[in-house]
Amino acid sequence: MTDTVTPRPAPVPAPAQLPRDQGDRAQEDDRADPAAPVLHARSRALVLIAVLFVVLAVAAVVAAGVGQLRVPPSEVLESLLARLGIDIGDGPSHPRGDAALWNVRFPRVVMAMAVGAALGAAGAVLQAVFGNPLAEPSVIGVSGGAAVGACIVIVAGWGFAGEFTIALAAFVTGLIATLLVYWLSRSDGRTEIVTLVLMGIAVNAVTAAVVAYAVFLGDTQAREQIVFWQLGSFNGSRWEAVRIVVPLVVVALVGVTALARQFDLLALGERSARHLGVNVERLRLVAIVLVALLVAAGVAFAGIIAFVGLIVPHLIRMVIGPAHRYLLPASALGGALLLVVADMVARTAVDYADLPIGMLTALVGGPFFFWLLRRTRARAGGWG
């Protein structure tokens, strides 16, 4: 009278269903019901992107209206419209208000948005490439490498490219460091993730030593410049710098968004992705170069701003899931929003003072990182 107990068939893992043209569906999202209509997750993603866009626009205008020099938002809009040829009000009442807006504040807000977008997207891409939720731009050596270039120029007092010498040097050395890390961690045409991370750590250690030596060599001014550069700041952002950073960021963002689908496939695992036609090595290399471009463009002018690439993609993923087609643009928007707000706080929290923005993001990012570590550990039961 005993029932025949037939073992239930092992549940087919959901990811295996994906190859059949369902990349739009949220994959490992805990809260999404796999049986829910495809439209649900997608519309949520689109709504989030729309919301982020609107909030970013509002935040940008508010940030442009807040600062040491009081210009109310209405006057900010008047000034903006006046530049476009529409004369509504009188514009800013302070004699230097217009100049302050157009030469100091607007370039700063735009720079914050560009750098935020770059760092947010870079974080998301790195997490895809490494398959590890803790991947961050500084891991692959970009920040460290960029710091070396900047410090050398600051201490040596070079000026071969005028005001852009520091940024150019940071850019070049950042890219070199990243490629070096990547090249050193390849063997037999493959890249081991763990080796990549360890190489990145080694490179960061060396660059930290070089920076320390530069601090020793430099005079008081150089020292302060290096320290401020290491903590990140948008103080002194000018249109000339914006003109360099924004196109680079836009190009790189378009590049990584084009790879979105391949990132989704890579999330299945290296072997599966390869079977599905993804050239994993080439994808990784291209992704890393694009990330280096994004991050170097970001740090070259603003210094090192940490944790944006860590916080933003995770928060976005918690809302709309890991589909990269929406994750990447949303991370970019989220990063831009985060830095615009952080910069606003940095320049208004203390009168006449400009807090280093890297400090603010680290203050928020650090605890978030801890929480993430614990959560990942608890979920995955280790680093696997």
């Binding site: 040491q68 020099l69 009081r70 100049a99 302060e224 401020f228 103080n235 002194g236 003072a353």
Partner: protein
């Protein structure tokens, strides 16, 4: 077998341990023998206070504008309006010079290092001393800005130019030889060359007087001993921000004017470098020169002795620390005569403007 080797090992360890303890105990008994007769009158911490700030050379000074000058960065800058001036540098020298030229009432803001009492109430537009805040500067609506590369960042200076404010960059070198030139360059930009020449003549006369006084004091105090060995120490807090200033930093010039030997330059040090304890002991200065706030930030003369290397020098053991206001000691400029006189009196121990700072050794 094992027991034997283990016992031998223990015995060796014990012997080594005893030796180590003996050596370390013994070495703390070794005192630095005073090989030089340090019968100097400077045997306690002293604060040098100048007898007042430089007075304006004239009142009702009218700038002759416009002026066009080629500034330190090589750019030609035209100043048409001198009604609202900002003079910003890390030493406060530029603001002091503007004040000494009689145009101090046109200043609308200041940097943190400006010590002129009349200017104390002006809003400060440099945060943490060395960084310009573009918005704060624009808020004050200056008609032009006088600055140099000792303060930055460069991008903010460029932003101000973009905003249409003439920014004149001057030379940031500070030493005795360039005082006249520095005053002249400020006067030229402001369109008051005559007052500038008068101020230069006045200041040069005052410097010569002060120098003669200091030399006389030195002769009386030192009398055949040889020059006092001096070191300028820069400190901020007790967390390791300890520097000493050498050749080309301005401190060497100051020490030379005081008739001393700059021990830092002697060791070949250029600019400012982190303080090396053994280097300091080897250099063995008789006198420490410091900024008042810097000395206070390490906990006064007692705290200074905790800094590695200090207590083993003659200056440290005798407590010969001369401190002076941050805004004055390395600023040179028109205030230099008073600074020099005050320091001379503090070091060589005679005269009116003598103040005791904090406790003794």
């Amino acid at each position: 077998m094992l027991k034997q080797s283990r016992r031998a090992l223990l015995a060796v360890a014990a012997v080594l341990g005893v030796l180590l303890v003996a050596v370390s105990c013994g070495s703390s008994e070794v005192k630095l023998e005073a090989t030089r007769a340090s019968a100097q009158s400077c045997d306690r911490p002293t604060t040098a206070t100048s007898d007042g700030w430089v007075e304006p050379i004239a009142t009702d000074v009218e700038p002759v504008l416009p002026t066009t000058t080629v500034d330190f960065s090589g750019e030609e800058v035209t100043v048409t309006d001198a009604s609202r001036i900002l003079a910003l540098d890390t030493y406060g020298t530029l603001a002091t010079t503007v004040h000494a030229l009689g145009l101090g009432d046109r200043l609308v803001g200041r940097d943190i290092s400006t010590g002129v009492p009349e200017l104390a109430d002006l809003p400060v537009v440099t945060h943490n001393g060395h960084n310009l805040n573009a918005e704060a500067i624009l808020e004050l609506d200056p008609s032009f800005v006088l600055t140099d590369y000792s303060i930055g960042p460069l991008e903010v200076q460029l932003q101000l130019k973009d905003a249409g404010i003439p920014v004149v960059i001057l030379d940031s070198t500070r030493n005795r030889a360039v005082i006249g030139e520095q005053i002249r360059s400020v006067a030229e930009v402001l369109g008051v060359p005559d007052e500038g020449e008068r101020l230069v003549a006045q200041v040069e006369t005052d410097i010569a007087e002060a120098q003669a006084e200091v030399d006389a004091l030195r002769e009386a105090a030192v009398s055949g001993e040889g020059a006092r060995r001096m070191a300028f120490l820069y400190m901020r807090g007790s967390a390791g921000v300890f520097y000493w200033f050498g050749e080309g930093s301005g401190a060497d010039d100051l020490i030379e004017a005081l008739g001393g030997v700059d021990v830092a330059s002697e060791t070949g040090l250029r600019g400012s470098k982190p303080l090396n304890a053994e280097g300091l002991i080897k250099a063995d200065p008789d006198v420490f020169l410091m900024m008042t706030d810097g000395l206070a930030s390490v906990g006064g003369p007692e705290g200074l002795l905790e800094v590695p290397g200090v207590a083993e020098t003659v200056a440290g053991s005798q407590g010969c620390v001369i401190d002076m206001a941050d805004a004055e000691i390395l600023s040179f400029g028109p205030q230099f005569p008073s600074t020099l006189r005050a320091l001379g009196q503090a070091i060589y121990g005679v005269g009116g403007a003598l103040d005791e700072a904090g406790g003794g050794q």
